[in-house]
Amino acid sequence: MTATETPAATTVLGSRLLRKEDPALLTGEGRYVDDLVVPGALWLGLVRSTVAHARVSVDVGPALDAPGVVAAFTGDDLLDAWAAPLPCAWPVTEDMKAPEHRPVAAGTACYVGDIVAVVVAESRAAARDAVEAVLVDYDELPAVVDLEEAAEDRVLVHEDLGTNRSYTWELTPDADAVERAFAEAAHTVSERYVQQRLIPAAMEPRGVVVVPAPHGGEYTVYSSTQIPHILKVMLAATTGVPEHKIRVIAPAVGGGFGSKLNVYAEEVLALALARKLGRPVRWTEERSEAAVATIQGRGQIQHIELAADAAGKVTAVRVRLLADLGAYLQLVTPGIPLLGAFLYHGVYDIPAYSFSCTGVFTTKTPTDAYRGAGRPEATYAIERAMDALAVEVGVDPAEIRRRNFIPTDAFPYSSAPGLVFDSGDYEPALARALEMVGYEELRAEQARRRESGSTAHLGVGISFYVEMCGLAPSRVLASLNFGAGGWEAATVRVLPTGMVQVVTGTSPHGQGHETSWSMIVADRLGVDPDHVEVLHSDTDVSPHGLDTYGSRSLAVGGTAVWHACEKVVAKARTIAAHQLEVAEEDLEFSGGQFQVRGSPDRAMPIQAVAFQAFLAHDLPEGMEPGLSAQVVWDPPNFTFPFGAHIAVVEVDEETGRVQLLRYVAVDDCGNQVNPLIVEGQVHGGILQGVAQALWEEAAYDGDGNLRSATLADYLVPSAAEAPSYELDHTVTPSPTNPMGVKGVGEAGTIGAAPAVMNAIVDALSPLGVTDIDMPASPHRVWSAIRAAKEAQQ
């Protein structure tokens, strides 16, 4: 695919169409897993370790005596239920060390929340009571909580592995160049940043229902998942139930943020026990259960060094990461830090590059994908470090960025770590954001306040991100040893009455695919978007697909829909030409009509063509009846959206409280199918990124207990905390796909945390503060101010 100009604008593409999904969701008609009525279903209750690391002996006997209890199993009881352990699909290196991960731990529990027994009961309440009746004897082992200590291997999480270090993954294309750059640098900065662990806290907790067919042998699995297709394959692999006997349906799914891009113990347990007991089995996660039982995000310690010349032009970046994997490897745990591995130079043209990441086991909940997955971490490190460099060189943070931007004429840009950035035009986005925020006036106001000795410190923080979206070209995934491809499938069917069905392999859980896909079809086929139905998230209805994560759905799945439409139009054109008795070249297709050029009265709407295709009375020789097409699209490259975010904060020196006064974002996700949906993604994304900067932290004590297991302690922001977003965008279409789209699901989250933290550090720089760990709680900010003041005395 070569450069594409903006597709011929129709009224629908680019319009702010209200989301089709919303009326049902807003009126409570959405059916989530827990809403499903399944007569006769048994409930699972999971007995979870209350100790981070212990040899356990479990007696389920007392639970069996409890009312309503049907069965109870220890890990040992279920050893023969598994054809394979829980899957990790991303062995990032040849020698990666992976502990065996059984759905129910047998012998040793390795984190608080690790399942040590399972009870099955006639009701949810009975299951919950029975969980309390199970006797677990803990023979405590030392917990391994601190990431740097874990890397030293003094205490092992898994004795049999002999080390806590699962892997070290390196990417240094030219080590000598990096050495040289640092040796010759006029300026260097060396920073250490901590990415705290985050709890994804999707509005809907996880849940699963497995219904065996009345006559056995087949299973319908309803799961609150982002990945019904991948889950089906993995359920077959772990339980040994043949894949063609499993149907996975993701009903309405209330958010995932990556946390439902996984294969969980509860899902495979529900299937295994439905098979064993011959009855439907279900489970719905409790909120504080979710805090330990669902994967967590981030969890890294980052060392980043920059070398620069006298003018502040960066010549090399060197990054060393420690990544907290948690106790086990979930579906893509080890690969998450590596999704950022290529982006530590950010939007800057940095010729020498060195990256290395060591993944380390700890006795905590496993980590895995969380909105942005690797890219927020990378953006945070480079954007914080660029601010540090600006201070070192003595230039404005906006100016240091301008001096280093990849120039617009360099696209497609081959980056030092080996990617090809499809398109970009960074200066205008930054200029627009600075203009919107009134940068010069803010700096003047800041200077005035500083002069007056005010204790209400004003700070302005810039972050400029680029992300890699549209996961992913299958060949690239192969080079990363990822256990799947990156293609996506779509089928477009024009039904006999002219209504259109789209079958997509993506699996929306809040993103609005039904609306966006309808708009693409409406644009291509010239039909009313309300005449399009999008079918998804059911492996029987949509047998081919790779689901929804990594801002891939539009750029890959939407493009598949686009191509399927093109195929439909091509076939329809042949039929129309045949019936109108003209050559295909003489037909013009627009507004849903095949029009004979120069003869305004000779035309055929696509709906009529569909009916003719259905009748099959008069089709061209050898043509198959029906008007439908299937396309599987494997993208040639990633897409590279970008944007400039600016946060304005006020920090109260006396209390350490940070107030986010303003938030400006200028994002560029290429062409926008529906700006309303784009804005929704940006709003939520920004707040999630701000939340990492100011509020959220999965805080563990030294014994490996999660201290923030409820939503009173884990501070997910509400509408009251949200800033008034001041948004704009630029449009730099992607040449990677025909619509020129890029993806925007993670952008806000990626841009926001560094913008806010840069603003806080900027505010407090006169006091000597150079870094604060996230979240910048009042207590932490106050402590940092105090420490800086003491150091200056």
């Binding site: 504080s288 209390t655 501070l715 009251a720 207590h779 402590s783």
Partner: protein, 273 residues
């Protein structure tokens, strides 16, 4: 999420509620708005065998002019307080404090009686009633008695109420035109205070502290200093005297003490002390 098994009794009157408490003894708990009790039950930190629901005793839901006091029925919702015209005129601080409790859902369910009876040192209304020098009315099998707010909070989540007593009314003085301030320091709008300070200047100045110990507290050292002629800033320096704040995810003990001093100064300044 799933509480342990319990029985449920709906009281049709205060007398029925008191009788039910007498019958079930320690096993029973009153249920008002449920917004403190039910979360504890769902986490199985509280496992009462019987819940006696007083939530529908609408005759205990009122805000009345009672001479030089305002009388508030124990079952009055936070939302009733935050929208009360009478409070706006006669005791605006209480109205303001009610508005800062939790979120709209919490304010529509939670009751002032439940909030005081729960005696959570982190709650807002107890400190407000303390600073105002309010009085609580308890009804038991032997009739009614009055308890000064200063005598009411006896320990962590413990009050002077007997097991078979129902809190029926809260009385606060009318303080039209008095200077006041409520400083609630938290990280999200819906959260409990990390530290809070209530100050009312009505002749003398009443100051109460939120989350600075096991109970809601009067800042007696501050009150004494002010009575002795100290400036707001001087008096505020003594805000943490005699307190025993705890450490948690949001604050160390030291930071809480610091906040108490800063917030007290701000409260006193705002109240015009």
């Amino acid at each position: 999420m799933i509480p342990a098994k319990f029985d449920y009794v709906r009281a049709g009157s205060a007398a029925e509620a008191i009788a039910a408490l007498g019958e079930h003894g320690d096993e029973a708990k009153l249920l008002a708005g449920g917004h403190s009790l039910l979360p504890l039950m769902k986490l199985r930190l509280a496992t009462p065998a019987v819940l006696v629901d007083v939530g529908r005793l609408d005759d205990l839901r009122y805000i009345r002019d009672a001479g030089d006091q305002i009388a508030i029925g124990a079952l009055t919702r936070h939302h009733d307080l935050e929208t009360s015209d009478l409070l706006a005129e006669q005791c605006p601080m209480l109205r303001h404090v009610a508005h800062l409790v939790g979120d709209p859902q919490v304010r529509h369910r939670g009751t002032i009686g439940g909030s005081l009876a729960h005696a959570d040192p982190a709650s807002d209304l107890p400190a407000a009633v303390l600073a105002l020098g309010g009085t609580l009315v308890a009804r038991g099998p032997d009739g009614e008695r009055e308890i000064a707010a200063t005598e009411f909070f006896t320990g962590f989540l413990e009050s002077a109420l007997a097991g078979d007593e129902l809190l029926t009314e809260i009385r606060v003085p009318k303080v039209p035109g008095a200077g006041w301030s409520y400083q609630k320091f938290n990280r999200r709008a819906q959260d409990w205070a990390i530290v809070g300070v209530a100050a009312v200047r009505n002749g003398t100045t009443g100051v109460a502290l939120v989350n600075m110990g096991t109970t809601p507290l009067r800042a007696t050292a501050v009150e004494e200093a002010l009575a002795g002629g100290a400036s707001a800033a001087e008096a505020a320096e003594r805000a943490d005297e005699g307190t025993e704040p705890t450490a948690d995810l949001n604050a160390s003990e030291e930071y809480r003490r610091h906040l108490a001093r800063v917030l007290t100064r701000r409260a006193l300044e705002e109240a015009g002390a």
